[in-house]
């Protein structure tokens, strides 16, 4: 199976991947608490970016309300843990179920009624907002006063209940991101992946050739939603508190998609490169402000916005395609 997965990946690419993976594995050994927390964030956004990319990059459906799935996944697993003591590894089954159901519902409503493009994007925002307000009133998970997970000792790493040191969370996130990467690669090379790309490039032509648009668009939405919900589970157990106002907020949705758009939509490495750049840029700017002694709130965001503007103006397809060419990974 590994042979089949790697058959048309250039050798250089495989070596690069192996090197990156090795670096990521030993990173905690020489990273301080701060760098480790940044590393976690990069992996988190890389994972979410991968998940979102399935829907947008592969199947061409622009979702601006992906925070919905993060939130649903987070609340589902957290609620089961707090109210019934169920481990998140089992609880994530509920997260997957709930998110995929929500995604399928949105997909069904949208595709059956021909909602596409910008309209679809607004629809996704509407559903995320709906969830935000709805969960504000959802008493079982404390609504807007916040859902807190009990935090016990830090002496031992409890992997089963995801209680432990940041290093443990880092490795779990790394495993998830790597698995997502392999999954996306496999999906792209599967028949479904080809159908998706056909749908993305020209839905009419694909339909004319007999591709069942509805079924494959639904699949993309469901898979994307399910995968994103797993990130939500991690979020809940890493931060140990959930507020609907924050987790379902549209700014969270925007955060998730910055990575893949800057990195390169539709590519495999795009979301990862993008997550690295986005988080790295933000932290780097904070450092520069700190060293230069600028303590005016808002300045960092202005420069950050300017950088985003420059990237989007001059690298419309993202950073990865030209980077891949330079590295000799693209013909």
């Amino acid at each position: 199976m590994i042979a089949r997965l790697t058959e048309d990946v250039p050798r250089r690419g495989l070596v690069l991947l192996a090197v990156l993976l090795a670096l990521a594995l030993v990173f905690p050994a020489f990273a301080s608490g701060y760098l480790l927390s940044v590393g976690f964030l990069i992996l988190y956004f890389a994972f979410c970016g991968q998940a979102w990319n399935i829907m947008m990059g592969f199947a061409g459906q622009l979702s601006l309300g992906h925070s919905l799935y993060v939130g649903l996944g987070a609340y589902a697993a957290a609620a089961l843990y707090v109210h019934f003591g169920i481990s998140p590894w089992i609880g994530l089954g509920a997260s997957l179920a709930v998110s995929m159901l929500a995604g399928a519902a949105i997909g069904f409503l949208a595709f059956r009624f021909g909602v596409a493009g910008v309209y679809f994007a607004i629809l996704t925002i509407a559903f995320a907002e709906f969830a935000r307000i709805g969960f504000d009133h959802f008493k079982w998970v404390q609504g807007s006063s916040g859902f807190f997970l009990p935090v016990k000792n830090y002496a031992a790493n409890d992997l089963w209940n995801l209680r432990g040191s940041p290093v443990m969370f880092y490795y779990v996130m790394l495993a998830m991101t790597a698995a997502a990467f392999v999954l996306c690669h496999a999906l792209l090379r599967s028949r479904m992946g080809y159908y998706w790309q056909a749908i993305r490039e020209s839905p009419e032509a694909a339909e004319a050739l007999g591709v069942n648009l509805f079924r494959y668009k639904m699949a993309a939405v469901a898979i994307s939603a399910g995968l994103t919900s797993l990130a939500g589970v991690m979020f809940a157990f890493y931060y140990n508190n959930l507020f609907p106002e924050q987790i379902f907020h549209v700014s969270r949705s925007i955060e998730l998609i910055l990575g893949p758009i800057i990195g390169g939509i539709g590519t495999l490495a795009g979301p990862i490169v993008g997550a690295f750049l986005i988080t790295g840029l933000a932290e780097g700017m904070r450092e520069v402000m700190l060293r230069l002694g600028i303590d005016v709130p808002g300045v960092k965001q202005v420069f950050y916005g300017l950088c985003l503007l420059l990237v989007i103006l001059f690298l419309p397809n993202g950073v990865w395609p030209p980077l891949a060419k330079t590295l000799g990974l693209r013909r």
Partner: protein, 404 residues
Amino acid sequence: MNRRQFSKAAAATAVAATFTPFSIVRAQARSLKVGLLLPRSGVQAGIGQDCHRVVSYTAGILKDLGLPALDLMNADTESNVDIARSRAERLIGEGAQCLVGAFDSGQTTAIAQVAEQKGIPLVINIAAAPPITEQGYKFVFRNFPTAPMILGDAFANQIEVFDVTGVKPKTAVFMHVNDTFGVAMQKGFAGVMTKFPQMPYKLVDTIAYDPAARDLSVEVTKARASGAEALVLVSRLNDAILITRELVKQRWTPQAILSMGPGWYEDQYLKTLQKIGDGPMSFVPWYDPTKKLAKQVEAVHNKAFPEVNFGTNHIYTFEALLVAADAFKRAGSADPKALADAIRATSIKDNVSTGPGVLFDAKGQNDKLKNSAIQNRGGKLVTIAPKEASNAKPELPLLAYDKR
């Protein structure tokens, strides 16, 4: 050196400085490195920046009190939990020996976890969600009342006010913003009501509104339709101004406006509404105007910021820094464990906030804090309850809006 060489050198220095993992060793050993985490941008920027104002005058006061200096390291949490956590890690990495912050309950929880893991004490200036000090943490301390504490004192103070003024409304309508604090207060309301059978009013309606509400005419119409005599609220600054304007426009003056949250006493409210803004009472964590240190800090604050009333944000942020300095003096060293133990043993009787002083229980919560009642009068604030910590008498009922 020409301009080109200079800018190249500057760029190189900036890059090098950015990637240097070690910060410049500071010469002072007799000061405590305190990381101050506040939301100075993002949606909570107003409050974060207000808290931050104390930074300009705390050093002078601490010196006057004979306390050691604090080496403050400022960080902006940007009203975001991811950033709050990584900034906390960054500060600790840069050598912070104590953390103070962070106003928002969600961000504070994330920071608390980092503090507990790294064994660095965190003194919470403001955050009212009860669970934060219920986790069994050994390094997290909160010198701010929890929502149930605020509620209980609010009731006690209201009863005192009703007794003194002789105005006892029989019905009340409760409006609250549907956010962390508002919902926490609403949840505790019925329970605390049973502990105060002498409370004259009964709630006839509860109206929750969206924190992002642009227009509160519907909510005020509903409140007015309930026929209640008094208006009890938990809102924020923007809402307070909107609601007041609606009250005037809809021609309804309640007997009493009883706010148990921010907004109704803030500078923006008083400045914008002027005469119309007189009368509402706020039952909030406040300072005791009879205490010596409170008077001193207020005077210094008014000199530094004549346009800004001395309020909750300043009081509690200052006190958190005071706690850090005081503990450092008693611990004699900046070792985090010694510092944490010293903080736990804190006993500052001559402080700023209302109550017997700064004392922490086994969970790290100052459960002795008392909350005050203040009233808007003549564009200024007076403290009306509890009696022993007041500087004026309460006045009820509210003067009708169309008579102002």
